[in-house]
């Protein structure tokens, strides 16, 4: 009797009618392997005998799209869909999207960097994002374009025993080389946007992928990479592979 009454208690909300709109937060949590990334203080193992201390991590996230369980895609209005995530600024790591249709979202897609279409709109077409990027040091020059990814610090190795600066800056090179990458991930559990529920999509970015991703980079070989027709696309691939949805909090 008891078992039956308990079983019949389990609720089934499949018939819930979802209307209205709400908000969702996309959190970018930077890590190095299994550790929370700490700027300047922690020493991390990189390629071979290299050890690094990271002083700066910034990247551009753009063109966010959310797909719900029925396959409907919500595209964040393009002009409001460019963000700079900065490890030294906690607010920048929580991207809040409002006016999102209430739904059960199962997939997130976003870009790393600025797409060519946006760049080709010219300086006027960038709105205030151009100023933001300049202030954050995420521009080379208008001609060269945006830096999509900035990764700086100090390193040592068996061959380099005194702390030496490294800096990897990656972006498209004007219109000559397109390094914009799109990242698409299935959510571990559904993000349930409601008028009264603001889920958090918790994304972990493992920065160890920069030097130890598909392509392995030794800082001893090249401590500074800015504009490089061969290496920049390799860094773009490494960095676009660093993201993982850890969980969704509803």
């Amino acid at each position: 009797m008891l078992a039956i009454s308990i079983l019949s208690c389990s609720s089934d909300d499949n018939e819930e009618v979802i209307t209205g709109s709400g908000s969702i937060t996309v959190e970018f949590d930077n890590a190095y392997l299994d550790s929370d990334l700490l700027l300047n203080t922690s020493s991390y193992n990189a390629s071979g005998t290299e050890k690094i201390k990271i002083s700066k991590v910034k990247y551009i996230v753009s063109n966010i799209k959310l797909e719900d369980e029925d396959g409907h895609v919500y595209v964040v209005p393009k002009n409001e869909s460019y963000f700079i995530v900065d490890e030294s600024n906690e607010d920048s790591q929580m991207i809040e999207l409002s006016d999102v249709p209430a739904a059960n979202y199962t997939k997130i897609t976003y870009g790393l960097g600025v797409d060519q279409a946006k760049y080709l709109e010219g300086a006027d077409g960038q709105g205030d994002f151009l100023t933001k990027a300049q202030e954050a040091g995420m521009m080379w020059s208008w001609q060269a374009g945006y830096k999509f990814f900035v990764f700086e610090g100090l390193y040592t190795s068996d061959d380099t025993t005194t702390e030496t600066a490294f800096a990897y800056h990656m972006g498209s090179h004007g219109t000559a080389l397109d390094n914009y990458k799109e990242i698409s991930m299935t959510l571990a559990n559904t993000a349930r946007v409601r008028t009264d529920m603001t889920p958090i999509v918790h994304i972990v970015a493992d920065l160890s992928n920069t030097l130890m991703g598909d392509t392995e980079f030794k800082l001893d070989d090249a401590p500074q990479i800015h504009v490089d027709a061969v290496k920049s696309p390799q860094i773009a691939t490494n960095v676009s592979g660093m993201f993982m949805v850890h969980h969704v909090h509803n």
């Binding site: 609720s11 949590d29 509803n250």
Partner: protein, 331 residues
């Protein structure tokens, strides 16, 4: 999980082997020792209410019917974050219970536990504190008592059959959402930091007990069937196995009964909105040691439980130890 189960099998089998001689000893007992004891029932209902009433079992060693007071202290260490280097927070759970077991008929009785929770969680920079009524439970038990076979040639002096010392108890009950559940707290790595689960849960228990003249053995399997609460948050179903052995030292004014025990707890994943939340399943194996002292109608007991092996919430939560003390009045 598979490895854990195998380990568990090993522990369980060695325990069974250890206990076999005692079972065979069921013979010369002359005392009509019909006491019930089911101390080492589920050790700790961690996932769902680390602080559940079920912790440390539903009864005491030798008192079939009683009312009493019990205090349980538990401490845990949890990660305050999702990373290897996330800071550790320390939780200490104090539970004060009124508990008891009352007979309805000779074979049927009811046990209940009403807990009050006082929980602390210490972060690097602050302390969280919640207190209040926890989740109470009520369980109905039916007892099958086994009697010795009478030999054909034996002269029967009494009309009463002689108990063999073995009995089986079947319990069916419920845990009620009398403790507050705060959805906000599920944000934390240890979802057990709650006064209650907010859900109505089923409790199904099977207990085998043997009481000899000196030695007693208790083995219990319990299944907790959990339902979703109003936040559509559903703690994982839980299966617990526990066994203990005690030995009686009768003195002129009192009886001392030390005991040792082992237990295993297996937790399914927590679900929310029908979806499994990652890193919320787990298992733990514990050892226990303690003693009861019985004088007149009073029983004083103490029980220390320590982890042997555990893997809880993706290893983000670690049980340190548990202690309970109780004072019961035999009815």
């Amino acid at each position: 999980m598979i490895k854990g189960l195998q380990n568990f099998k090993v522990i369980w089998m060695s325990l069974t082997l250890m206990l076999l001689p005692f079972v065979n000893e069921a013979k010369t007992c002359c005392s009509n020792d019909n006491h019930s004891h089911s101390l080492f029932e589920p050790t700790c209902d961690l996932c769902g209410c680390s602080t559940s009433a079920g912790s440390f079992g539903f009864g005491s060693l030798k008192n079939s019917n009683f009312v009493g007071l019990r205090y349980i202290y538990q401490n845990y260490e949890s990660k305050d974050g999702i990373f290897e280097n996330s800071p550790i927070s320390k939780e200490s759970f104090n539970t004060y219970q009124i508990w008891g077991r009352v007979p309805i008929t000779e074979s049927f009785y009811v046990s209940s536990i009403i807990p009050y929770q006082d929980l602390y969680r210490t972060f690097q920079d602050r302390v969280e504190h919640i207190n209040g009524l926890g989740d109470m439970n009520v369980i109905g038990w039916y007892q099958f008592t086994f009697y010795k076979k009478q030999k054909d040639a034996e002269v029967v002096f009494s009309v009463d059959r002689e108990p063999s010392g073995h009995r089986i108890q079947i319990g069916i009950g419920a845990k009620f959402p009398t403790g507050a559940f705060e959805e906000e707290l599920t944000d934390r790595v240890n979802p057990g930091f709650q006064l209650g689960t907010g859900s109505l849960d089923g409790v199904f228990s099977l207990n085998h007990g043997y009481s000899g003249s000196k030695i007693g053995v208790n083995t219990t399997a319990t299944y907790y069937l959990k339902t979703a609460n109003k936040n559509d948050y559903r703690f994982g179903n839980q299966f617990s196995l526990a066994s203990n052995v005690y030995y009686s030292f009768p003195k002129t004014t009192h009886i001392i009964m030390p005991f040792v025990g082992v237990s295993g707890d297996f937790y399914n994943s927590i679900e929310q909105f029908g979806e499994i939340l990652p890193e919320t399943s787990g298992e733990s194996f514990s050892g226990a040691i303690g003693s009861e002292v019985v004088f007149n109608r009073f029983t004083i007991g103490a029980n220390y439980t320590f982890p042997i092996q555990q893997s809880l919430f993706g290893d983000n939560v670690e049980a340190i130890n548990k202690l309970s003390v109780y004072l019961n009045l035999t009815l």
